[in-house]
């Protein structure tokens, strides 16, 4: 039985996800619907004036207003795009209902959709009853690892493997990209740099659940992340 404080910390993980879920729903129900409606109307406007000649528009005294309509359309489109990535990144999957395998598949799907890259996903029979905090940690770590690989490794292919060893769930994310010299993540010299926030986040999520986190990389040699987290906490 973990100490009381540890239990509270682990519960906080799911509370945070629930709060995120609420914020995402508010944005979904409000701004997204309104922006999509507005964009539909502006597209209607654009289509309506597209067959008019410049002279016709000038004689109606609206010639100089037309580019403004185009600019407004672009602005709304860009806002919707930003919101799309926000919703996708922060909306938690249905942790309670979905299995870890299904959650990982969903994440890999979204990553491929957004980046156009390929992720080879291998899942070796996982237990169905992995604890909620463990699922959340594995999901957020995989999300960060895929995103890091895509942004920094300079390759469009990654390999992900999930399996279990006894009561531990293992997650490996590998790429054959640029690689880098990893900063120290443990001990007195452990990095606190802003630039390493993603790595620190992964390390801390693992530590909270008494798991292990191993990052292997060097320039030109690709990167491997290996995480082991207790299935039941």
């Amino acid at each position: 039985m973990p100490p009381k404080n540890d239990l509270a910390s682990r519960r906080i993980l799911s509370v945070t996800e629930e709060e995120l879920s609420r914020i995402v729903l508010d944005i979904h129900d409000g701004p997204v619907q309104n922006l999509f409606a507005a964009l539909s109307m502006i597209t209607r406007l654009q289509n309506g004036i597209s067959h008019l000649s410049f002279e016709q528009l000038q004689s109606a005294g609206v010639g100089e207003l037309i580019p403004v309509v185009g600019q407004v359309e672009k602005l709304i489109e860009n806002s919707l795009h930003e919101i799309k990535f926000f919703l996708g990144t922060f909306r938690p999957p249905e942790f309670h209902r979905r299995t870890m395998a299904s959650i990982a598949e969903g994440l890999v799907f979204q990553h491929e959709e957004w980046t156009g890259s390929t992720v080879e996903l291998e899942i070796v029979a996982l237990p169905d009853n992995i604890s909620l905090p463990s699922k959340i940690a594995l999901y957020r770590i995989l999300q960060e690892a895929l995103s890091n690989g895509f942004r920094h490794a300079g390759v469009d292919r990654q390999w992900v493997k999930l399996w279990n060893e006894g009561d531990m769930i293992c997650l490996e994310v590998v790429d054959a990209g640029k690689g880098f010299d990893p900063p120290p993540l443990e001990g007195p010299t452990a990095t606190e740099q802003e630039a390493h926030i993603g790595l620190r986040g992964m390390r801390d999520r693992v530590a909270l659940l008494d798991g292990t986190f191993q990052l292997t990389s060097s320039p030109g040699k690709g990167t491997q992340i290996l995480v082991k987290i207790p299935a039941y906490v």
Binding site: F36, L87, F109
Partner: protein
Amino acid sequence: MSEKIRLILADDHALVLQGLTTLLEQIPDMEVVATAHNGDELLLRLEQHEADVVVMDLQMPFHGLTALAEIRKRGIAVHVLVLTAFGDGDSIRSALELEAEGFALKTESPTQTVEAIRQVAQGRLVFPRAAQRWLAVQQKPQIQAETLLSPRELDVLKHVARGLTNPEIAGQLSVSENTVRFHLKNIFEKLGVTNRTEAAAWFFQQGGSAEL
């Protein structure tokens, strides 16, 4: 297609309905015949109006999610395009499991929705590229395609799985559209499915490849 695509729009956000209707009414080959604000109303509108395509959000009150299942259960001959703000794996899988034929996003330009409507109306499946992994594993395989279907039917099914329309398949196989429809009817009966999405899903889960 010479005639207009008849549409029923269903969304619980009144502004979205208004915006989309305004846009679609102006598109020459489309016509909005009815709108609905929830799942129950959508089913009612489908009884009152003939439509080619339903454009619906899955997150609506009063049975938004089950309305699509009900459309399939009742065997209503209408194409369904899901229009939602969530493009994550769970949402796409829900749409696929409920046998929608297309998926469009409210976070993309409405011009894309218009194009998706046109494609779905032609009998194409409109899903993101990465979603094919689920199209492929929707159901467990039971029987071999080759033992169940004639070589010609298998040909037709392959083309369906590639997302081709009936006229396109007719062109590729040098037969009439009526012949394609005839083969499709037999294929649906033999596989126990009711539409192209299910037939394509069946094909992929057999390990079928759409490559010719």
